[in-house]
Subunit: 201 residues, 2 copies
């Protein structure tokens, strides 16, 4: 795929491309962003960007610095159907945070709350890569709403368990956490009321 | 209460006291921290600390920079009893964030995820001022766990609605948000299963 004869550059080039990608994605939005635009901003050949990151999605994921691949794990979680999905998702989420992938995730949260650019990138990432996939997989009414409700419970768990570390949540076994939070996500996915509008106050 | 004849100093003195208080609380923990210790660290008279902040709790709240007074709002939310508490809490939470108090809260979240000291302070604050009061008010088994589960859903809502601003959560009316999330908190407060341990994986 790479057409230049260049050898992979030093880490500096990669970092330069990612910095350019962050600005470009934040300004243009994912849909309008192009490999060519990123390369121009970084002052490198477009082929080099593709060589390092394979695709626009690849650069995006690296720019957002999310160490997981929703296109991989979501289909696996969804293939067993809606039944028990809430608990499977919570369990996967906690296991991932407890694994070596956890520290970079902490970095993602840090950058999101301190940088508007990072927040915009993650908003795009969450909407495109996670919520839309869930929405497709679930075939429910108001899937985007249901998925974002589920995401709110998961991100809050991450904040209290891994960032602020409030007990007893911080040291509870993953299975307990899944048992407590699983039904919440399940309700967001399946309860007809969760999709309906509330009393108009 | 202040015994010195000193006039309230410039903002610099207050900031100096708060900076000293943050270090002192983070090192000593709330219970062992003293007005005397904070004053010594700030190089001021203990009476001045009391003059500005009234009590150890007062300095603490100012140091944590939380613009709300749990001792005030929690009793009000709890006095109507457990029935509908989840929805009342969510509604109060969203209304507070949507009010002028919201921007400082964003600052609290920022400092918590970027500073271990701030995280330790907030952990103390949340445990002492919010979870314990809820726990007392609720008179349920495992109140600390139930309250921290509820807090995890609320903080996640804040992250998605106010920090990352994911739609449709970001612009949903408070009443809708309360209708969606209220039952979650209610379940954490009341469901016997939420307090029980899960299958031992």
């Amino acid at each position: 795929m790479p057409r230049t004869g260049r050898r992979p550059g030093a880490g500096g080039t990669r970092e330069q491309i990612l910095a350019a990608a962050r600005s470009h994605f934040a300004e243009a939005g994912f849909d309008n962003a192009t490999i060519r635009g990123i390369a121009a901003a970084a002052g490198v050949d477009p082929a080099l960007v593709l060589h390092y990151y394979g695709s626009k999605e690849g650069v995006f994921r690296a720019a957002v610095n999310v160490p997981i691949e929703p296109g991989e794990f979501l289909p696996r979680l969804l293939e067993e159907g809606l039944d028990g999905l809430g608990e499977r998702l919570v369990r996967f989420f906690v296991t991932t945070w407890d694994s070596p992938a956890g520290s970079p995730l902490l970095g993602v949260i840090r950058s999101v709350v301190t940088s508007e650019t990072a927040a915009a990138l993650l908003r795009d990432f969450v909407s495109r890569e996670i919520l839309s996939r869930l929405a497709e997989g679930l075939e429910l009414d108001r899937p985007q709403l249901r998925a974002s409700l589920a995401a709110s419970q998961l991100i809050g768990l991450a904040m209290l368990r891994y960032v602020v570390r409030v007990e007893p949540l911080a040291s509870a076994p993953p299975a307990d956490v899944a048992a407590w939070l699983g039904p919440t996500l399940q309700r967001y996915f399946t309860d007809p009321a969760a999709g309906a509008a509330a009393d108009p106050t």
